[in-house]
Subunit: 216 residues, 2 copies
Amino acid sequence: MTADTASLSAPETLSLRERKKLRTRTALVDTALALFTERGFDGVTLDELCDAVEVSKRTFFRNFASKEQVASAPLEALWDGLRDDVERLSFGHAPVLEMLQEALLAALERLDDGGAWVTRVRQSRELAERTPSITAYGLQYCDRTSAAVEATLQRKLGLNPADPRPRLALDLVVASFHAALRTWTAKPGTPTHAALAAELRSVFAVLPGALTFTTA
Amino acid sequence: MTADTASLSAPETLSLRERKKLRTRTALVDTALALFTERGFDGVTLDELCDAVEVSKRTFFRNFASKEQVASAPLEALWDGLRDDVERLSFGHAPVLEMLQEALLAALERLDDGGAWVTRVRQSRELAERTPSITAYGLQYCDRTSAAVEATLQRKLGLNPADPRPRLALDLVVASFHAALRTWTAKPGTPTHAALAAELRSVFAVLPGALTFTTA
DNA sequence: AGGCTTATGCTCCTGAGTAGCACTTTGAGC
DNA sequence: GCTCAAAGTGCTACTCAGGAGCATAAGCCT
């Protein structure tokens, strides 16, 4: 479930079997991103990808649920991180929206491994921009994770399940990240982790204005 | 089997050919929703669906891009309506968010055909809840439509393309509708168009609270 | 070491979605 | 009315994503 997070933060306290599995998983992600970027998502068959990693298709589907997932893996790690944060964190009585914003920034911070993750995110994002099915998968994963986070919030904070505000706040945070991702990807030059975090903070800052701004 | 389901803008001045095409399209949507509801999305093959409607698979794929789309058709009509509204409406100086809310409510109103559409939406929604690929497709369609609406807003209002607020406002409206849809679907009894509109207004009303509410 | 668990490979299968070709229907020009 | 081009449709064959069963090998435990 959190294999993604583990694969990218790479703790060395894993058994040999688990490390091996992680190696093939990482190899699949990296090779997939490279091949998809080079020849397009539809231009690469799973057989080709598996041949390149020297792994059977069976093994591929034990690590990923679909061809789209392997291309979305980097971002899934972020949402998994957010989910784990909300599960772990103790909530005070600050506004829920701010808590979620902090949790996402913390999850993002935790994925800073010196550039490897952020490079994968950039590739994944550019692929998603020209491949609708990847976008679809990613959005569905966000949706599912958001539902899980909402349930956790309700449980930990004793909220009324009929209250739509927690989920709206969550959707707002997710929308903010997507907005940050768009502008970050559009910027030329070497993409950095810090720049992405800065974009996200910037979007968070203008968020209240999204409700009130007028044309004039 | 009577009026138009999706892809509105349908005056009664359709040519015979266009009416025929629309009839097969509607038959495909209704039959698909019925079969999927009865035996599950994965329990029905396209061949079976096409046999039931007495149409070839080739014809199916001329009307729909995927198996998921035919199950999402009712909601696509709503987003298409929102897109058309924003394209058509003249914007005053009111807050953009309120304009979008009004536009969505207007699009929803326009789809009130006495219960046929709303029944299909209910079926489509219940299918999406237990079929991830339908959810994925629907979210991707929302995303694409939102991008188009954002572009229209920028053009008509002369906004800065780097300003994330229009898209955030849009995402907020979309998230509100999804929240309304969830609670509307969860309610037992015969689903009505008016009840859905009421849910949506209700979510719009608590929207500002989503930014500020606290646990205590 | 030996048994147990788990990953992996191999092979066969279903079904979504595409493409080529031929046939029918519709709408427009004569 | 008649013809013809264009569009819709059916049929068929094909590619490829994804799943299932069975056998093997590798890692883990006592």
